[in-house]
Structures are given as structure tokens and as C-alpha cells.
Amino acid sequence: MVRPPQAPLPLMLALLLAAAGASLVIGKVWLPPVVLFDGLAAPKPNLAWLIVTELRIPRTVLALMVGATLGLGGAVLQGLLRNPLAEPGLLGVSGGAALGAVIAIYFGLAARFALVTPLLGIAGALAAGALTFLFGRSGTLTLILAGSAVSGLAAAGLALALNFAPSPYAAYEITTWLLGSVAEREWSQIVLCTPFILAGWLCLAATPRGLDALTLGEAQAESLGVNLNMLRALALAGVALSVGAATAMAGAIGFVGLVAPHLVRPFVGYRPSRILLPSAVFGALLLLVTDIAIRVIPTSAELKLGVLTSLIGTPFFFWLVLRLRRLSP
């Protein structure tokens, strides 16, 4: 029997560790390892220690969580929908999260309590997920259609918020938030989102068997004992919780969830169940490296994370189109 090439998971984990280390060092103020360790040893609080614990570590942790969530969500949805163009925002939850967070900014609540933005973001994502489930639970196609309808609704809400923005400054703040970033998030916000993200991961971790069976199409998967309604509900709940919470924290970050599953798929013999973990690790690596790149690239204004992932992701999308065109003449 021919075995597919082993997933370079150890290699990716090593790279991830290295990137996490680099993420602590690199920034506006460079903290070479020597300075870093001195800061940890010196009496606290000192500058290096503050920068690392209050800025760099939260930023790194958030980039890892958001990247892993997007990679995992994309892998599950591509497997569920058997569509290589599926991405975590497809079911409307990212739009819902963004709308919730923007409502917090619009009414000026965000300035008063730091937790309001992620809280309303998560509420928005869950509401959007529930709406998608309500309309689309009966089948895969209806799920996609309901997801696009909910996305459209959220987009309309966002446009409305921009239209009636109380001041140009509020409009600016909304737009900047939408661009997506993992910088300057507080520990309390991260702590708030973590349970939702972990609960979402748990739901998604229950899907791989069903995803493998779907390699044979829905009818045969059902005949193999897979409960398709349950599988769809688990995937939607998992994406609503994890991607919703991630978007509530970091804003809309595109392409990571689309790209990561594709790049790891050939290494696991295209088995839908086997791409989940590598895709999550690769998503985390991708987002962390992009976030480090933002800090290094010299720009006058701050380059936002979501902007750079889109810039990198678009050529990949073209490549995907070309490849699909070559495969299906």
C-alpha cells in the first residue's frame, strides 16, 4: 500500500515556536533575547517586562488563537461543503461578529468598557450563526444560501453604521477596526474570548469522521451512519463560537482560512479529517508571521493585519483559479 507523504507537522510546530519567539523580540522597541532575559530577571515592573507581558505576549497569543481558529474553521467548512473556495466567513458569522463590534464602537460603548466590543462581537456572531441555522439547517446548499443572506444583512448593517456615524472620527474608528488587527488587545479581552474559542474548537474537533465520509458524497456518508444534520449543526456551532470570537477580537481577517487548508492538503493525502490539525497550525503560523511582518515593514501609518493578509492572499486566489482551470478543462 502506498502511504501519503507524512504531514510536516513537527517542522511546522518548530517554525511556530521560532515565530512565537521572534514575535516577542520584534516590534517598535526591539528586545533582543539578552535584554529580554535581563528584564525578566530585574526587579519588576521594568520597561522590557512591561512590553513583553502587556503588549507582545497578548499580541502573540491572540495571533496564534485567531490564526488557528481561521485555519481550523476553513478546513472544516471546505470538508463539509466539499468546496475548495469555502472560508470561515461563508456562514455569516464573521459579518455578525463585525456588526456586533461596530455597534459597540458606534454607540461609544467601546471607549467606556474594554470588554463591550468583544462581548457584542460574540453576541453578533452567535445571533448570525443562529439565523443561518434557522434558515439553512435542512441541507448544504440552503446552508450556504442562508449564510450569504446573513452576510448580506450584516454588511448592510455595517454600511448603515458608517452612513449614520455620529462623527467622522467614529467612522474612521469603525473602518480601522474592520481592517483587522491583533495589536493593543488587553488581557481581559483575551480571557473573555478564550472559552468561546475553545468551545468552538471542541465542536469542530467532533467533525472529522463525518468529513471523511463526505468524500463519498452526502448519500453515501449518510448510508455509512453519519448524521448529516448533526454534522452541519456541529460545524456551524463550532464556527460561530470560535470564528465569531476570533473576529470579535481581531476584526475581519481574510484569506487565512481559505489558504491554510489548501497548502496542507497534499501532505495528508487529501483526507478531509487529516487536514484539521495541520491547517490550524499553519493558520496560526501564517497569521503570526504576517503580524511580525507588519511590525518590520516601514510604513508611515500602521499597516493593518487584515490588509496584509488580503494582499498576500489575493495572488493565491488567482493561483487557485488557474489551477482549477487546469484541472477541469
Partner: protein
């Protein structure tokens, strides 16, 4: 002995009746060919017999138990279902495709053990696919893919194999091989139910035929006594002549002399 009983089943959707009042009892050792024109309700009946669709009225019973009440995974171990034009969605290796048939057998966590891989190899050999083992399933030809799907269905050694048009799109040799393989499985003690359009192959290999029209069962019984020219006329609106019997049987269609020749573009036909 396995008995599959469709007890007066009907299926309605949006006010239309696709299957009405079908009563059918099949047992292990039978190869039941399900015959009927397009839209006669064969696929719907097959989905109900497989336990995938709930009848609007009546019920399907497997060994006297309501099939919809049997646990999904227990049922999946006992019966295999192959839909019409089964496709593969990802370019997984052929061995992996076949191994998916063992899913109901293996625990939720963990991969296939040695014994399971031996079953996969045996199923591949049975379906003449041993040389395609590592090949991506998306690159198989139509005949090879149909065989791979059959291997997938057989790898778990189910008592019942239900296939919806397993011969569609196959060239004559592969169609004959395929139907012979199904007949051999029935001789082996399994129950095989397959919808088939090639009446000659049905006449040669099926032990029983069930003939449908308009959602109703016209006739059901042993092939030799049931598949008659009058029955074919009633089901398909064509005259047929049946020559020979058993492995030499040939079913041929006869154009009726009174049927007017159809012009491909009636408006342009010479008056």
C-alpha cells in the same frame, strides 16, 4: 437469513406521489433487479429500502424491525448503499476510498489496523483494482470508479447491498463484469437489490425482478416467470421479444409497425 420487507410503503412529496403502496419481501441469496422506466420511482424505493428515506406511509422492516429504528451505525454495518453516479469529492488514494467502507466498524478514534487493511486489499482484489491502489480516486475512469464504489460497499461484508443503477455509464464488458459480480455475491448468501436498465443483463443474472411503473409495483417474482414480454410492454410501452433463458437470455425491443416515424424537426417534415 436476512429478510428485507417493504410493508405497503408510499412516498409523497409536494402533493405528488412518487411511490405508492409497494409491498416487497426480499431475502438473502436473492439478486433482485429493480426494473422500470425513468421516473418510475426506483430510486425513491431504493432509498426507502436502504433506510435513508422515511416512507410517507408504511414502513420498511429489516428482520421484522423497523429499519428507521435501527441504530445508524448498526444498520451501516449490515447494509451497503451505492447511489446513482457516485462521485468522489477529493483526490484521496483508492485504498482510502475503499477503507471508508469500514467506517461503521472502526472505533471513533484511531485508524485502521492490519486486519482492516487486509479486508481493504481483499475488496480491491475482488473488484479487480489491486493495481490502482495508490492512485488518486479522481483519476479513475468511469468503470474503475464504479468498481471502487462496489469495493467500498463490499469491504465491510454487509448482508445487504443496495445499488442504484450500478451499471449506468459502463461499457458492455464492464457492465457484464459488474452484474456478474453482483450475482456471485447473491450466490454467496447476500441480498442484492439493484436498479438496472439493461433487461438482457437482468434476465441473465437476476434471480428475481421487481417491475415498477408510475410508482407502483407491476410484478415481482422469479426472473424466468416474471420478466415476460407482456410485462415489459406494460412497464416500458415497447414490444419486446425474449429469446432463450438463463445465461443465454436476450431481451430485444421491436419497433411497432403502427408507430409513425418521428421526424427530428416536426415543423420541417415534408407534408
Amino acid at each position: 437469513m436476512t429478510v428485507l420487507h417493504a410493508d405497503n410503503v408510499s412516498y409523497d412529496i409536494a402533493g405528488r406521489s412518487l411511490v405508492s403502496n409497494i409491498d416487497l419481501i426480499c431475502e438473502s441469496g436473492q439478486f433482485v433487479a429493480l426494473l422500470g422506466a425513468n421516473g418510475a420511482g426506483k430510486s425513491t424505493l431504493i432509498r426507502m429500502l436502504s433506510g435513508l428515506e422515511r416512507p410517507s406511509r408504511g414502513q420498511v422492516r429489516l428482520d421484522a424491525r423497523a429499519i428507521r429504528a435501527i441504530d445508524r451505525r448498526v444498520l451501516a454495518r449490515r447494509r451497503a448503499y451505492i447511489p446513482q453516479n457516485a462521485r468522489v469529492e477529493w483526490p484521496v488514494a483508492v485504498e482510502r476510498l475503499v477503507a471508508l467502507g469500514l467506517m461503521p466498524q472502526i472505533p471513533v478514534f484511531g485508524d485502521l489496523d492490519r486486519a482492516a487493511w487486509r479486508k481493504v486489499e481483499a475488496a480491491l482484489a475482488l473488484c479487480d483494482l489491486s493495481h490502482k491502489t495508490g492512485q488518486p480516486a479522481t483519476t479513475l475512469s468511469g468503470g474503475e470508479l464504479a468498481r471502487a464504489m462496489l469495493a467500498r460497499a463490499l469491504v465491510g461484508e454487509p448482508e445487504i447491498v443496495i445499488a442504484d443503477e450500478p451499471l449506468s455509464g459502463l461499457d458492455p464488458k464492464h457492465a457484464m463484469d459488474g452484474v456478474a459480480r453482483l450475482a456471485a455475491l447473491a450466490r454467496d448468501g447476500r441480498l442484492i437489490i439493484a436498479s438496472i436498465h439493461d433487461l438482457t443483463l437482468a434476465a441473465r443474472y437476476a434471480t428475481h425482478v421487481a417491475i415498477m411503473r408510475g410508482g407502483r409495483l407491476l410484478a415481482y417474482g422469479p426472473t424466468a416467470s416474471t420478466l415476460t414480454s407482456s410485462c415489459i410492454r406494460a412497464a416500458f410501452d415497447v414490444d419486446a421479444c425474449i429469446q432463450g433463458s438463463g445465461a443465454q437470455a436476450i431481451v430485444d425491443f421491436i419497433a411497432r409497425p403502427d408507430t409513425p416515424a418521428l421526424h427530428p424537426f416536426p415543423g420541417l417534415a415534408p407534408a
